[in-house]
Symmetry: C2
Subunit: 230 residues, 2 copies
């Protein structure tokens, strides 16, 4: 069997790739098993350097394709991540944070579903995490199960007997475990951008929720933090 | 009670408004009960005159707001409605037609869900129809029920005890019944555009699936067809 025929026999997965630490690890995990079709979203987020990071990661981990979909979440508003009139908080908050983007994962998974149908992938991989999940309702396991059910009712593939699944390899890992697993698979975390208010070159603020969780993760994993702080 | 305080006490609904016959009727029905927030999508469809129709209809039926969200379904491809390399068929076909857009209603409802959260609407109204539904999997009642379940797991409102519902007033109506109901509510169907390949001014081909269903509807309803054919 040649390498190329082997490659064609692997199953296909659409991998949601934000360019952050979690999705980079997801891609590395998925690439062991699947031919990966990465999908990223330009949605008016403050931290566009994430998208540059996503492109570097897709290349580094051998994704077959990488699509960047431009969407208009800013037109809906309501989050500190897309609405410039709301400040990103620099202290931990209780409950659902203002960085919550209404229906974000539903929109992202909906596009991933469309892309999966077009490239004949039967799996969507998303790096949601129930441990460090920051209080977002659309990161919970019951949400993911409901989306998988929807996907199988929504699509030509689903109703023609090719079931789709949503794979969440990070669901029950701590940030430290995610980092340890990624390092084993060769993820270069200096390529990733997690900060909610990273600058154009991807330098992190070190203060927002996302920076805090990430820094604590490297500390708990007992490895050096390669994050580029400004 | 003044008209304006009455208006403020009405519940709010996000209404998916394509500019076609069905969604125009949906808006007219929803406007009896709700303050309506209309949402339309510019998604690289061939028939952009639909969006002009949507704007006219939103105004005619007193929508509080009308958002047009630009999305990138064309970047995913796979349908005759968004991919210029696939012809729109002019004969009835068996099974799921090539005009099926992968995950379209899932993407649309996901944006509607985000908009509903931001404007504090507890209802989303969509004009899917199980009778004349053209074979699209994401127009079936079981699909809509699955989306409603997802919506309540996905959102801050859902988990904070303000359940969201998806209302489908046309679900069990024939095209003729939809037209009869709309006429009673003052819908001017000459404003609507249903054709899959309408020209820039909204003139219809008279040949595609959508034109056929619409023409048969007016015939069965026993009323004159106000469609502007080219």
């Amino acid at each position: 069997m040649t390498t190329s025929s082997y490659a064609h026999s692997r199953p296909r997965a659409v991998v949601l790739l934000s360019g952050g630490l979690d999705s980079a690890t997801c891609l590395a995990i998925a690439a062991q098993e699947y031919d990966c079709y990465a999908i990223s979203f330009a949605y008016g987020q403050r931290h566009n350097s994430e998208l540059a990071a996503a492109a570097r990661l897709a290349k580094a981990h051998g994704a077959v394709d990488h699509r960047v979909i431009h969407i208009d979440l800013g037109g809906i508003g309501g989050s500190a991540l897309t609405d410039m009139s709301i400040d990103v908080p620099e202290e931990a908050s209780l409950g659902i944070p203002v960085t919550y983007v209404p229906a974000r994962n539903t929109v992202f998974l909906a596009f991933a579903l469309g892309f999966a149908e077009v490239v004949h992938a039967d799996t969507m991989v998303i790096g949601v995490n129930a441990v460090d999940y920051s209080g977002y309702p659309d990161c919970r396991p019951e949400y993911i199960a409901a989306f998988q059910q929807l996907a199988n009712l929504a699509t030509k593939s689903g109703i023609e007997g090719h079931p789709l699944k949503v794979d969440t390899p990070l669901l029950h890992l701590s940030k430290a475990e995610i980092i340890q697993q990624g390092l084993k698979l060769g993820v270069d975390y200096s390529l990733t951008v997690s900060c909610y208010q990273a600058d154009l070159d991807g330098y992190a603020c070190g203060k927002c929720d996302s920076c805090r969780l990430r820094r604590e993760g490297f500390l708990a994993a007992g490895v050096a933090d390669p994050t580029r702080y400004r």
